[in-house]
């Protein structure tokens, strides 16, 4: 599977880009030990106008490059954690619904639909506004609006895997139903969940940036969305303050999308070949 993935040009580009972002995020404290909030020079310096400030300074004279690097940490952190939380909610719910069926399924799906009918972004805004913007509330808000598609996907996969004969074999072996769900069914639903997760991280990063841009970000966390929001009022005179964080977001989201597609392609031939062989069944 790795071979298929690595032969996909787009996916490898995505991996390289994402690694670059991760490296920058991890080394931010080393590269910029004073943090992103320190006023280092005159404000509104253009990129490369002064040595050591390749991306210029912002409205308060802070180093834009430092802000980008620290912003990477926040974006990646929020993206990852919120996706994990969404998976923690969606996977068990979908698995239980798909495996047990009947009223468990009904209840879980009605609950999921309730969340799906509310527009994502609007709900995120409301949640963050109610719980006072902070990294924690943003992460949870994003997780809350992101989990329904996961539940649906897992439910569909579980329903399909549940019908396969090795599940029957496991029942005959005397395994309890929860054990079957955990050890036999779920491991076989992992591939589409991974693909979806990678795309969810990208969406989470975009959501966080949008919230920060609107002023609902954590005022103590330097994030790319915050940078763009703060630069909104001076965009005509200091284009670079909006440009660089914007590029950073584009690159990161693009990288994640490429990786997600690559994973999808790498997993799928596996799936389609299996289905073809299973075609020789009795009428």
């Amino acid at each position: 599977m790795w071979k298929r993935f690595s032969s996909n040009m787009g996916a490898m580009v995505g991996v390289v880009l994402l690694l670059a972002v991760i490296v920058v995020a991890l080394t931010a404290p080393l590269l910029f030990p004073n943090g992103p909030w320190q006023m280092v020079q005159r404000p509104f310096l253009a990129p490369m106008a002064v040595d050591g400030l390749p991306l210029g300074t912002d409205t308060l004279g802070r180093n834009v490059a430092a802000q980008l690097a620290y912003g990477a940490r926040v974006s990646l952190l929020v993206g990852l954690v919120s996706t994990l939380v969404a998976l923690l909610i969606g996977v068990p719910l979908g698995a239980l619904a798909g495996f047990y069926g009947s009223w468990v399924d009904e209840g879980a799906m009605r609950f999921t639909e309730f969340f799906q009918t509310i527009p994502n972004f609007a709900l995120a805004i409301v949640l963050v506004a109610i719980f006072e913007p902070s990294l924690a509330s943003i992460t949870i808000a994003i997780a809350i609006v992101s989990w329904p598609p996961v539940a649906r996907l897992v439910r569909a996969e579980v329903m399909s895997v549940r019908k396969r004969e090795f599940v029957d074999a496991a029942r005959l072996a005397g395994l309890t139903r929860p054990r079957i769900l955990l050890t036999q069914v779920l491991p076989n639903t992992v591939s589409p969940i991974i693909v979806m997760a990678s795309l969810m991280v990208a969406t989470a990063i975009l959501l966080e940036s949008s919230l920060s841009f609107l002023g609902l970000g954590d005022p103590n966390a330097m994030s790319w969305g915050y940078m763009i929001g703060a630069a909104r009022t001076v965009i005509r005179t200091s284009w670079w303050l909006s440009f660089f964080p914007g590029i950073a977001i584009v690159i990161t989201v693009l990288a994640l999308n490429l990786i997600g597609e690559g994973l999808n392609d790498a997993f799928n031939p596996h799936l389609s070949r299996r289905r073809a062989r299973a075609g020789k069944e009795k009428a």
Binding site: M39, P43, P219
Partner: protein, 515 residues
């Protein structure tokens, strides 16, 4: 006997009127930022409310740019020699916007009943008043308990707006439905309020001064985004940017445009003074050493230069340099991070995080909060900025739910009017963001404030206030930041926009457009 001849003032007023031929007609678009929470000036005295409602309501007097009192609803007045009795003779033929005649009873109701309940700042002045009576429909007499020099400065539109007795007497003021369509005596009547978009005022055809106002209507435009406001001015959609409407870094560019004039006048009455409330009751800020450390840690010159483009002046203490009886012969808190660290070590600061509440009035204030946070973190104070909007800020400060909170207040020309109210124990009252919010309780100093207010000669008062300033500056009940300067930007063909000490607030009365 000090006798101020009203006639002298009328002539002076007439002489002060510009000679050029004023032209009637036209419409003015003025930016208001942020959107006022309400327009009933008796209940709400936020900056934006004063800006808009200053055209709708009036008080007994007006003040020119030297803070000299001028007639308004009162056409003449006398002060007794002992300084205890103020007698005002009201104009005849004044009507409320709904047609009801204006009488002295409205004045008595406003000052004695309505505002006493709703207007914290006026209450400070009313404390000196023994009685307010209306011997007849056109006369109002204020009798003081003791002489109070600054009292004559209390008759400004925002300080003592005269409100209609026939609408508010006996009602629940806050929930009176008339609050949505404010009724005043001013040159402009309320027409419409499209929330989030504009407030529309139209000329009061029955205004008691013939010929005024010249303008037909005024639109106060609500444009939440600072860049959009600058663009609106550049494209000609709005004509006036009152001080504080655009981000400071747009001001140089805008003032250099063709046909654009700017002036720093119009703020003399207010003398905006910016500081941070420091919660004297709980948290690390309750310790005076911590508060002093905060003062030394901040680089206020940097903020003045970078965030305010050099406009303004670093504040040394509670009294602005533009206000009477200011002195800088006090402890000066320069930018001294080492001293700050020493003080923190002495007090034993343990790293408890301290919340910082910025003013939700735009990017300027957000950047200021970030700069302060950075300064403080450099001396080891752990600061977290809270996210808030106007309503949230009002709530947190008035309910004392903060550690450090930005604010700026007006001084109203005299320490007894606009300064002492933030430092005396009798002004500690939950529910208002404008009084002694920090909870500074110093009975000895309270006595000095009280005494200084009632001394008779200016020299006595100056010495008394110097004494107060020395002591209070060492206590640092709040962290004084800057004396703010808000240039008003407008098109040059708008004339006589800023002729009073409150500038654009009541400017439209005399303004006219040269065609």
């Amino acid at each position: 006997m000090t006798y101020l001849k009203a006639t002298t003032f009328l002539i002076a007023a007439a002489l002060a009127a510009p000679v050029a031929a004023q032209q009637a007609g036209g419409r003015l678009d003025i930016v208001v930022q942020p959107e006022p929470p309400g327009l009933m000036l008796g209940l709400v005295q936020n900056g934006p409310t004063q800006l808009v409602a200053g055209d709708i309501y009036e008080s007994l007097l007006r003040y020119d740019t030297d803070l000299v009192p001028q007639p308004s609803l009162a056409e003449s007045w006398t002060i007794s020699d002992d300084g205890l009795v103020y007698t005002f003779t009201l104009r005849e033929g004044v009507t409320w916007h709904d047609g009801t005649p204006f009488t002295a009873a409205d004045v008595v109701f406003s000052a004695d009943v309505f505002l006493r309940e709703t207007h914290a700042r006026l209450r400070s002045s009313l404390a000196y008043v023994d009685s307010i009576t209306a011997p007849d429909d056109l006369t109002v007499v204020f009798t003081l308990k003791e002489p109070f020099g600054p009292f004559i400065n209390a008759f400004e539109t925002g300080t003592m707006p005269i409100v209609p007795k026939h609408i508010y007497d006996g009602t629940d003021y806050a929930n009176n439905p008339a609050n949505a369509t404010p009724i005043g005596t001013g040159p402009f009547k309320f027409e419409a309020w499209e929330k989030g978009s504009y407030i529309h005022l139209v000329k009061n055809e029955d205004y008691y001064i013939d010929g005024l106002p010249y303008l037909d209507e005024v639109f106060y435009r609500v444009i939440p985004d600072a860049a959009a406001r600058a663009v609106a001015f550049e494209t000609g959609e709005v004509d006036v940017l009152p001080g504080g409407s655009v981000e400071n870094w747009d001001v140089p560019r805008l003032t250099q445009m063709d046909n654009v004039c700017s002036t720093g006048n119009g703020w003399e009455f207010f003398a905006p003074h910016a500081w941070m409330w420091l919660n004297n009751r709980e948290g690390p800020t309750a310790d005076a050493k911590f508060r002093q450390a905060v003062m030394y840690a901040m680089d206020r010159e940097f903020v003045k230069d970078v965030v305010w483009n050099g406009y303004g002046k670093v504040a040394t203490g509670p009294i602005s340099s533009k206000t009477n009886f200011y002195s800088d012969d006090v402890t000066i808190y320069d930018h001294n991070p080492d001293k700050a660290k020493e003080l923190l070590a002495e007090m034993g600061y343990d790293g408890t995080p301290v919340r910082l509440l910025p003013l939700p009035y735009g990017e300027t204030w957000q950047r200021w909060a970030e700069a302060v946070r950075q300064n403080l973190s450099e001396v080891g104070i752990n600061v977290e900025i809270e996210s808030t909007d106007v309503a949230g800020w009002n709530e947190k400060t008035s309910q004392w739910d903060y550690d450090m909170a930005f604010t700026y207040l007006y001084q109203y020309g005299d320490p007894a009017l606009g300064v002492s109210r933030n430092y005396t124990a009798d002004r500690i009252q939950k529910g208002s963001p404008w009084n002694n919010v920090e909870g500074y309780d110093n009975p000895a100093l309270d006595a000095k404030w009280a005494a200084a207010a009632t001394m008779v000669t200016p020299e006595e008062r100056a010495a008394a206030y110097l004494d107060i300033q020395k002591e209070i500056i060492d206590d640092v009940p709040v962290a004084w930041l800057l004396e703010l300067e808000f240039p008003t930007i407008y098109r040059c063909d708008i004339k006589d926009l800023v002729t009073t000490g409150i500038g654009v607030n009541d400017g439209p009365r005399n303004a006219w457009i040269e065609k």
